[in-house]
Amino acid sequence: MKDQAEKPRMPTESGVPDPFPYMHPTLKENYGNWDWHDRPRPGVLHHVSKTGAEVWTVRAGTQRQLDVFTVRKLADIGDEFADGHLRFTTRSNIEFMLADQAKVDPLIEKLTAEGFPVGGTGASISMISHTQGWLHCDVPGTDASGVVKGMMDMLHDEFVQEKMPNRMRITTSCCQINCGGQGDIAINVQYTKPPKINHDLVANVCERPTVVARCPVAAIRPAMVDGKPSLEIDEKKCVCCGACYPPCPPMQINSNEGTKIAIWVGGKHSNARSKPTFHKLAVAGLPNNPPHWPEVKDAVGKIVNAYKKDAKHWERVGEWIERIGWNRFFELTDLAFTKHHLDTWTGSRKTMNTSAHVHF
């Protein structure tokens, strides 16, 4: 490469890399030929192939944002216990695959000693799926890694054991775009004030028709302000979603007091038993209060505890609420039901109870 320094290097458009050169040999040898699995203990999966081959997977939590020292430490652990292979789950847990059962306990001991909690399997609370937040995003209302760190400190015991009614998936999103996705519990930013417009910058920074088109409720229109071409907002129409902010940063949606946190419940990706669902509003108006977000933790704790105590085995949060009814959900979690829980968006009529079925 250095010899051709004067000639620019064009990329090799190699696309999605072939994982087989990196895959653990037992997984490679038994690819597509697995027979059954069980979980010998929390944090450990045991898969048996049709040939009788076995593999033990030890799953551990990470901070997702890994410094090179942590990357190398995990690599060292992989060399010592897992034949030099590892993988990551959708929720940023690390998994070491072991062909030798005798290494399971020593690996668990090692990971625990190094501060990586072993768990996240079965009826546990796995790692919170999170976004980038103040660390790297250009539109965030709050941080992601910090919220998750505090929340997982609180929920650590539920990660390392399998004592929930079913798995619980928690997500966080730092704005209402909701990159964190759907969850049994979703902790999302909820803006409460219309954007504040810096009229000096709009004309130069924003493509105004694009911004007008981006508003879901047609609350933005072009306007001349102090002789400058800018935009104005019908604040009565504005739903404070923040959709105008990414294409037009001078429409600042974030503010110290206006950015709040809302908690949503009952989202589910899996098709097991009930069809996949979206999460529904449980509580809004919680303060965005770094570095510990105590009000958010308190509300999440109430929901986790009520679910843990009251749900039947295999019921996810949404299925549990479906059974007990929203009346009882708000009673058990000690949260308020308000007019803001009544949906007003397109299709909202389908979210209303049009039967005589009532929970008392």
Partner: protein
């Protein structure tokens, strides 16, 4: 306290609060890069920590976007320029390279070390495994370092992922590599589809983003239905497999009542019944392949042999019409042979072309379908209406049906053809 005594070190009182507790701390990792990292990592991380702590105090973010790419590509890098660079100049450019991981996130320790070495030299030393779109996120390099960092990663066999209005990086579950519930070859299908359309990833020219995700069964471990425009979900169409001896063992172990409560009563279509001898009766025609009973009785129950996938189209997150899930478009496609996968690629191409030609700017394909209606979409992509596409048929009578008989005849002809094909095959 030690922080304050160190000359030039930004104080991080808010972040320091996130170093205790039982969960691994990202702050501890950032600080280690600041204190013990390569010289350039130390400089970047000191100011990055300073800016992050500033965000915690002001409750505001201080990054703005911009434009940055590597030679030959138009996307794949997330540029970040600091708005508080006067206070924190060393992290004024803190860009992220989105790099596609090996399908299914399998790594060797050797590969991880190579990544760490590259990012220690060219970036900040901070890597996320993985972003919500599925990429490895190499976070925190200058505009100047993006090209040499990419060159080295590219030489290792790694390519930039998607960003902006383009085909995005995809994900597949662990699938066939370690899961007996897998119903198709997730890795092969994922790579075939994405690599065929790789040009759409590297040179953003679509109306908006377009995502694929591949889950081996209806447990949907990569959240494909909610989070992708084109979800491929494993399923099977023959009878599920039952090992009655293992069913009996399960019942003996956990009890009859518990089995009824957690398996039989939880079947969403009442397709299961526990016989008096503790064997299981399955009404396969009523089973919807939801996976619940198979999840509970992993040794006794498994998907059938005639495996393949369902295709669901139109999932997305909030912006701007609200969250949407994919709609069932193809209830079953085979994915066993190269020809099967080729057929799926061609269908995917049809859908992407439809999207490119018909979607409005910043509109996801699910929104386009809503705007023009399912019948028009199906006609455009050459798929016939199927009862599996709906929860129930329409309830509104406001529709013009003067060609109903013609359409009904098509249905009967199709059914007759399918029956004929089945008879021939047997």
């Amino acid at each position: 306290m030690k922080d304050d005594s160190n000359k030039g070190q930004n104080p991080t009182p808010m972040l320091d609060e996130l170093e205790g507790g039982k969960w691994p701390s990202f702050v501890t990792g950032l600080k280690r890069l600041r204190d013990e990292g390569a010289e350039s990592n130390q400089r970047i991380m000191n100011d990055l920590l300073g800016q992050l702590n500033h965000s915690y105090e002001e409750k505001l973010g201080f990054w703005k976007g911009g434009t940055l790419s590597v030679l030959g590509y138009g996307g794949g890098i997330i540029p970040r320029f600091s708005e508080v660079a006067d206070k924190f100049p060393e992290s004024k450019e803190f860009h992220t390279l989105r790099i596609m991981p090996p399908a299914g996130n399998h790594y060797t320790t050797d590969l991880l070390r190579k990544f760490a070495d590259i990012w220690e030299r060219h970036g900040s030393g901070l890597i996320a495994f993985h972003g919500q779109s599925g990429d490895i996120m190499f976070q925190g390099c200058t505009s100047e370092a993006a090209q040499p960092a990419f060159d080295e990663l590219n030489e290792l066999g790694f390519d930039l992922g998607g960003a902006g209005p383009a085909l995005r990086t995809a994900m597949n579950c662990v699938g066939s590599a370690r899961c007996e519930q897998s119903c198709f070859n997730e890795i092969k299908t994922h790579r075939a589809i994405i690599n065929r359309f790789i040009d759409e990833m590297h040179r953003p020219a679509l109306p908006y983003k377009f995502k694929f995700k591949f889950s081996g069964c209806a447990n949907d471990c990569v959240n494909a239905i909610h989070r992708s425009d084109f979800a491929v979900i494993g399923t099977w169409r023959d009878d599920m497999k039952v090992n009655q001896e293992e069913v009996k063992k399960h019942v003996a172990k956990v009890g009859r009542k518990y089995t009824i409560d957690t398996v039989i009563s939880m079947c969403p279509t009442r397709a299961l019944s526990l016989n008096d001898d503790d064997t299981l009766e399955v009404d396969n025609a009523s089973c919807v392949r939801c996976m619940h009973c198979i999840n509970v009785m992993t040794k006794a129950l498994s998907p059938g042999d005639d495996r393949g996938a369902s295709i669901m189209i139109g999932g997305k997150r909030s912006l701007k019409v609200g969250d949407m899930m994919g709609i069932m478009i193809k209830p079953f496609v085979k994915l066993d042979t190269d020809e099967d996968i080729e057929e799926l690629e061609e269908f995917a191409e049809t859908v992407i072309e439809f999207f490119a030609d018909n979607a409005l700017e910043h509109e996801r394909v699910g929104e386009t379908i809503d705007r023009i209606g399912m019948p028009a979409f199906l006609e455009e992509v050459g798929v016939e209406a199927d009862p599996n596409m709906v929860n129930h048929p329409r309830t509104s009578s406001y529709v013009r049906t003067d060609d109903f008989e013609e359409e009904a005849n098509k249905w009967f002809e199709r059914k007759a053809a399918e029956a004929g094909m089945t008879a021939d095959a047997e």
